[in-house]
C-alpha cells in the first residue's frame, strides 16, 4: 500500500463520504467563522450577531433532519453516522435555536460580547454533536474536551461577578482533572486491546475475553472505570458531581440551561455510544473487517469497518466473527458495565434528590434536580445492556425510552431556566424566598413554572410522566425478560424501586417552590415589575408541549424507535 493510494482513499472518504454527512457541523463552523469575521469590519460591529446565530442554527437544524438509511462510519471510522446521530443532532440544533431566542429575550449577550458568547455556544454544540456520534475512544476524549472547554468559559460569562469567576474556576479545574483521568483510562484500554476504535474493541474483546488473565481483567476494569469517570463528570453523576451545584449557582441562568440540557443530552448519547460500542457489535458490520493497508487496490466500501491495524495478521485474526456469537461473548463486559452504571445511577438520583431539600437558591436547586434527572436517565442504560443479548427489539425499546426522556427533558429544563432568567431580570434575585406570592404579579409565568416543576416530578398527565414511565417500563421489561431467560438481573429491580422512591421524595422540593410562588404572601418590600410579553410567550410556548404531549406522543415514540434501531 503506497502513500498515494492511501491518501487517495482518505481523500475519497473525507470528501465523498464524510463531508456530506457532516453538514450541520459544517454549518456550525461556518456560523462561528462568520460571527467572528463580522467583527473585523467597522460595519460589522453594528450587526446584531444574534440574528446570524439564529440563521445559522436554523440552517443547521434543517440540514440535520435529512439522514442516511443505514449506519455509516465517516472520517475513517472516527465518527458513526446513523439515525441516532440524526436524532441527537436535530435535538441539539433545535435546542440551539431555542437557546438563541432565549438569550435574545433575556438580554445576556450585548453587542460587544455577542460574537464571543455565541461562538462559545456554537463551539460547545459542535463538540456535543461529535459526542453523540463518537465511534473511537479518542474521539470520545476530543469531543468531551471540545464540549467542555467552551463551557468553562461560558460559566464565567458574567465577568464582573465573584461567584461567576469562582464557578468557572471550579468547573475548569474539575473538568480538566476528570478529562485527564479519562484519558489515562483510554490509554490503558487502547493499549490492552491494541485498538481504540470501538467496534474493533468490541470484536477484540469478544475474541480475547476468555484468554485474559485476572490481572489484565483488573486493569481492564479499572481503566473502564476511569473512562466512566470522565463520562460521569459530564453527566454530573455522583461522586463526580461536585462541580455541578457550584457552577450552576455561579453561572448565568441561560448558561445553566445550556449545560443542563444540551450537555447532559450529549453526555447520555456518549454514554450509550460507549457502552454499546464496546459491549455490542453494531449492525451492518462486515464479518470481514477490511484493513486499510491490506486492501491496496480496493475501493473502500462505505460502511465497511475500518481497522487501523498495521499488522495484516491482526486483521486476519479479527475476521470471521459471527455477529451474534460476538455479542454473546461480550456478555460479561456488558454485565460489568450494567452493574457499574446501575450503581452510579442509583446513588446519583438519591443524592441529587436529598441534597435538594434544603436549598434556598433556585439555581442550586435546579442543579441538584439536574443531577437527579441524570440519575433517572442513566437508569435506562442497564436494561439496554441486559436486553442486548436476549431480546434485541426490547433493547431498542429501552434505548428509545432514554431518547424520549431526553427529548422531553429539553422542554422542561429549558423552560425552568428560562423562567429563572426572566425572573432574575425582573426581580434581580435568584433566591426562592424572593419568589413569594409571585402568582399575583406574573400569573402566566407562575403557571408555566408550576407546570414545569410538576412535570419534573413526573406527575401525569404532564410530559415528564411519559419520560419516567418509559424508563421504568424499560427497567421492568428488562427484569422480566432476563428472569425468563434465567439471567440474574436483580439490579434492574433495585433500580426500579429506587427510582420510584426517589420520584416520590422529589415531590417535596419541587412543590415547595410552587407553594412559595402561589401561597406565600407577597413581601411588602417588593417593587412593581413586569415580565415582558415576549418572554412570557416564549415560556408558554415551551410549556405547551408538556401539557399536550400526553394526548399524542406516538410520533415521538416513532422517532425515538427509529433513532434507536441502528444503535446496535
Amino acid at each position: 500500500m503506497n502513500l498515494t493510494e492511501y491518501v487517495n482513499n482518505v481523500y475519497h472518504n473525507t470528501v465523498d463520504v464524510s463531508m456530506p454527512a457532516f453538514g450541520p457541523e459544517l454549518v456550525i463552523c461556518a456560523t462561528i467563522v462568520l460571527m467572528l469575521a463580522v467583527r473585523l469590519f467597522n460595519w460589522g460591529r453594528r450587526v446584531d450577531v444574534s440574528y446570524l446565530a439564529f440563521a445559522g442554527a436554523i440552517v443547521g437544524f434543517v440540514l440535520a433532519l435529512y439522514g442516511p438509511a443505514e449506519r455509516t462510519e465517516i472520517f475513517t471510522g472516527m465518527l458513526v453516522y446513523d439515525k441516532f446521530t440524526l436524532f441527537m443532532r436535530a435535538f441539539l440544533l433545535l435546542f440551539l435555536i431555542l437557546f438563541v431566542v432565549l438569550t435574545k429575550l433575556s438580554g445576556i449577550p450585548d453587542r460587544e460580547d455577542g460574537p464571543d458568547i455565541y461562538s462559545l455556544v456554537f463551539g460547545a454544540t459542535l463538540g456535543m454533536c461529535l459526542m453523540s456520534s463518537a465511534n473511537h475512544l479518542f474521539m470520545v476524549f476530543v469531543a468531551v474536551e471540545m464540549a467542555s472547554v467552551p463551557s468553562y468559559a461560558l460559566a464565567g460569562l458574567l465577568k464582573g461577578r465573584r461567584q461567576s469567576s469562582e464557578a468557572a474556576l471550579k468547573y475548569a479545574i474539575y473538568g480538566a482533572g476528570a478529562a485527564g483521568v479519562m484519558l489515562y483510562g483510554i490509554s490503558l484500554v487502547a493499549g490492552l486491546l491494541n485498538t481504540a476504535h470501538m467496534p474493533t474493541i468490541a470484536l477484540e474483546l469478544a475474541r480475547r475475553y476468555a484468554e485474559f488473565s485476572s490481572s489484565q481483567l483488573m486493569v481492564l476494569a479499572l481503566a473502564s472505570l476511569m473512562i466512566l469517570v470522565g463520562l460521569a463528570f459530564k453527566l454530573s453523576a455522583v461522586p463526580f458531581h461536585f462541580w455541578c451545584p457550584d457552577v450552576f449557582e455561579g453561572a448565568a441562568a441561560e448558561v445553566n440551561a445550556f449545560l443542563s440540557v444540551a450537555s447532559k443530552a450529549a453526555a447520555l448519547a456518549l454514554l450509550l455510544r460507549v457502552i454499546l460500542g464496546v459491549g455490542a457489535v453494531p449492525p451492518g458490520v462486515a464479518d470481514e473487517p477490511v484493513a486499510v493497508q491490506t486492501a491496496p487496490r480496493q475501493h473502500l466500501a462505505d460502511g465497511a469497518l475500518y481497522v487501523m491495524a498495521q499488522d495484516p495478521a491482526v486483521a486476519a485474526e479479527t475476521s470471521g466473527r459471527g455477529r451474534e456469537e460476538a455479542v454473546a461473548q461480550l456478555t460479561p463486559v456488558r454485565n460489568y458495565m450494567g452493574w457499574l452504571v446501575a450503581f452510579v445511577a442509583a446513588i446519583t438520583c438519591t443524592f441529587g434528590n436529598l441534597a435538594a431539600y434544603g436549598q434556598t437558591n433556585i439555581k442550586r436547586l435546579l442543579a441538584y434536580s439536574t443531577i437527579a434527572h441524570a440519575g433517572y436517565m442513566m437508569m435506562a442504560a442497564p436494561p439496554i445492556l441486559t436486553l442486548v443479548g436476549l431480546d434485541s427489539s426490547r433493547a431498542h425499546d429501552a434505548a428509545a425510552a432514554l431518547a424520549l426522556y431526553i427529548a422531553i427533558y429539553l422542554f422542561m429544563n429549558l423552560g425552568a431556566f428560562a423562567i429563572v432568567a426572566f425572573l432574575r431580570n425582573s426581580l434581580r434575585s435568584e433566591e426562592i424566598a424572593d419568589y413569594a406570592g409571585l402568582v399575583h404579579r406574573a400569573p402566566w409565568v407562575v403557571i408555566c413554572f408550576s407546570i414545569i416543576l410538576f412535570s419534573l416530578v413526573g406527575l401525569p398527565p404532564l410530559a415528564g410522566f411519559l419520560g419516567k414511565f418509559a424508563v421504568f417500563a424499560a427497567l421492568a421489561d428488562g427484569y422480566v425478560v432476563a428472569s425468563q431467560a434465567g439471567v440474574s438481573a436483580s439490579h434492574l429491580l433495585w433500580l426500579l424501586v429506587i427510582g420510584g422512591v426517589n420520584t416520590a421524595i422529589s415531590l417535596f422540593y419541587y412543590v415547595r417552590v410552587v407553594k412559595v410562588m402561589t401561597i406565600d404572601p407577597e413581601p411588602e418590600s417588593r417593587t412593581p415589575f413586569s415580565v415582558g410579553v415576549f418572554p412570557v410567550a416564549y415560556v408558554v410556548l415551551l410549556t405547551i408541549p408538556l401539557v399536550v404531549l400526553i394526548f399524542s406522543w406516538n410520533f415521538l415514540n416513532e422517532w425515538t424507535l427509529q433513532a434507536a434501531a441502528q444503535l446496535f
Binding site: 476524549f141 468553562y152 468559559a153 465577568k159 461577578r161 469562582e166 480538566a176 493499549g191 457550584d246
Partner: protein, 111 residues
C-alpha cells in the same frame, strides 16, 4: 543490578506514565495555587500521552496500537494547550474578582 540493564519494555514506559499521572493527580488535589493546579493537569495529560506512545510503538511489543498512539499523543498535546489557555484566562478572571489565586479562597459557593 540486573534491573538497570534489563531490556526496556513497555512496562517501564507505563510506570513512567503512571508516576506522571499520580504526581499530576496529587498536584491537582493539593496545590493551593491555581497555576500549580494547572501544572498538575498538564502532568496528568502527559502521563496519558506517555502511555499512548508506549502502546503505539512497534518496537516494544508485537501487537501494538500503531500510529494511533502517536497521533493521539499529538492531538492531546494540542488539546492540553487549548485547555490551558482557557484555564489561564479563567484564572485571570478569578484574580480580577478575588485578587488572589488561592484556590481555597473560592468558597462562596457551597452547600
Amino acid at each position: 543490578m540486573v534491573p538497570l540493564v534489563a531490556q526496556i519494555t513497555v512496562s517501564h514506559y507505563l510506570v513512567v506514565g503512571a508516576v506522571l499521572f499520580v504526581t499530576g493527580a496529587v498536584c491537582m488535589a493539593t496545590k493551593r495555587n491555581i497555576l500549580g493546579v494547572l501544572m498538575g493537569v498538564e502532568l496528568v495529560l502527559n502521563g496519558a500521552n506517555v502511555n499512548f506512545i508506549a502502546f503505539g510503538s512497534p518496537f516494544l511489543r508485537e501487537h501494538h496500537l500503531g500510529l494511533d498512539g502517536q497521533l493521539i499523543a499529538v492531538f492531546v498535546i494540542v488539546l492540553a494547550a487549548a485547555e490551558a489557555a482557557v484555564a489561564l484566562a479563567i484564572a485571570l478572571n478569578f484574580y480580577n474578582n478575588h485578587t488572589t489565586i488561592d484556590v481555597d479562597r473560592a468558597e462562596d459557593l457551597k452547600g
